[in-house]
Amino acid sequence: FPTDKQDAPTGTSEEMAENYLKKFYSLGTEGGPVGRKKNNRPFTEKLQQMQKFFGLKVTGILDSKTIEVMQKPRCGVYDVGQ
């Protein structure tokens, strides 16, 4: 019976997560100029958006549960409207 993965996220996981967020959460692909924003961290914001969508704990941190969801086979259509 599976136990939760305890491994800390590796560089590969971060790369994978970035690609995932680019594909399904438009990370870094919003059109047009973006205004300056205090603490603007698009990766964290998109990660939080993804965690909220999947009913995960919204931390903005790439934890094992989030990685597990990202690795599940899925449909290639965006989760959020473009």
């Binding site: 969508f53 086979p73 899925r74 449909c75 290639g76 259509v77 409207g81």
Partner: protein, 368 residues
């Protein structure tokens, strides 16, 4: 659920589709049947009709291809992205593409073409991904029993928002996804599993680790692809490390993820008379090495060491478990206490004093 604006949905109800090519994973007739059934999922609940055409461009063009297939969204080899589809529109709009690098099946094995096609055609019709983990439009592939598939209510609501209801006098309804805090939850069965607790509920299980604050919801078939939905009873024998799962007059033995070979078997091989057609609840009492089976207002005691029913059974539940109502939905023995789940409540019972300790809501275990 989430959809495109109504103005971006198809403005007609008679849609056409064409199968451009076939996967070699399945016989052509099986692909055609899967596609047809996937469209029927949506036509059953709306006024939409789907007609297959062959020699001209259709509204929904269906194809199998691997890697880059010239739509600016290349596939990624086995696993990962399984398929994608475009929202309603001219040209590529409505089209559905399936990754040929996947293994397509017509069974519970990965990946069932009907289940994926039904999801993709949802996009073809204007549905976006749903956040409901039980919905067909949830973005991750869910291992559910394809033969028992029923369109969930979330998806019915979504498609009917865009296209209205079918003209059928009996409006179809679909299953909803349970939530941790639902006070009306009625479990089908409850068992321990190597220190964890498993609550069976229709097509789902709640999996609760004693150290986790919340239970995790997943489909039954995510762990055991060949198990049916709506099971009747389950218990763990910690000595054999087997879980026995009962449905109707059959039972199956599980060892962790694996369904043991030689199952399902007949419950009559355990010593039940032919008059017993199904078991309401089962519970293993470890220190007694006995398993109690509850059927209507009676119960049987099975000796796990002797592998036979104890003599003198069945007995009336009310005689040996005073205060416990008949028709038990599920039972659990956990940390020295026996729990009877009856409807929305559970009775915590002390076997030694033969007294009810407390009455709780059934969902008290889930971490609401």
């Amino acid at each position: 659920y989430s959809t495109v604006p109504k103005s971006s949905a198809w403005q007609k109800t008679d849609l056409t589709y064409r199968i451009i090519n076939f996967t070699p994973d399945l016989p052509q007739a099986d692909v055609e049947a899967a596609i047809q059934r996937a469209f029927k999922v949506w036509s059953d609940v709306t006024p939409l009709t789907f007609t297959r055409i062959y020699n001209e461009v259709s509204d929904i063009e269906i194809s199998f291809s691997a890697g880059d297939h010239k739509d600016n969204s290349p596939f990624d080899g086995p696993g990962g992205i399984l398929a994608h589809a475009f929202q309603p529109g001219n040209g590529i709009g409505g089209d559905a593409h399936f990754d040929e690098d996947e293994s397509w099946t017509k069974t519970s094995q990965l990946y069932n073409l009907f289940l994926v096609a039904a999801h993709e055609f949802g996009h073809s019709l204007g549905l976006s991904h749903s956040t409901d983990p039980g919905a067909l439009m949830y973005p991750s592939y869910s291992s559910t029993d394809p033969n028992a598939f029923q369109l969930p209510q979330d998806d019915i609501n979504a498609i009917q928002y865009l296209y209205g209801k079918s003209s059928n006098p009996v409006q179809p309804t679909g299953p909803t996804t349970p939530t941790i805090c639902d006070p009306n939850v009625v479990f089908d069965a409850v068992t321990t599993l190597r220190g964890e607790l498993i609550f069976f509920l229709n097509r789902f299980i709640w999996r609760k680790h004693p150290q986790a604050s919340e239970a995790e919801l997943m489909f039954v078939q995510t762990f055991w692809p060949s198990l049916p939905n709506d099971i009747d009873a389950a218990y763990e024998n910690p000595i054999t490390e087997q879980i026995l799962v009962f449905k109707g007059a059959k039972y199956t033995a599980l060892n962790g993820f694996d369904v043991l070979p030689g199952y399902p078997r007949n419950i009559y091989s355990l010593g039940f008379p032919k008059t017993v057609k199904r078991i309401d609840a089962a519970v293993h009492i470890e220190h007694l090495a006995k398993t109690y089976f509850f059927v209507a207002n009676k119960y049987w005691s099975y000796d796990e060491d002797k592998q036979q029913m104890d003599k003198g059974f069945p007995k009336l539940i009310r005689d040996d478990f005073p205060g416990i109502p008949e028709k038990i939905n599920a039972a659990l023995y956990y940390r020295g206490r026996l729990y009877f789940f009856i409807g929305r409540v559970q009775f915590e019972y002390n076997l030694n004093t033969k007294k009810i300790v407390q009455v709780l809501r059934s969902n008290s275990w889930l971490g609401c």
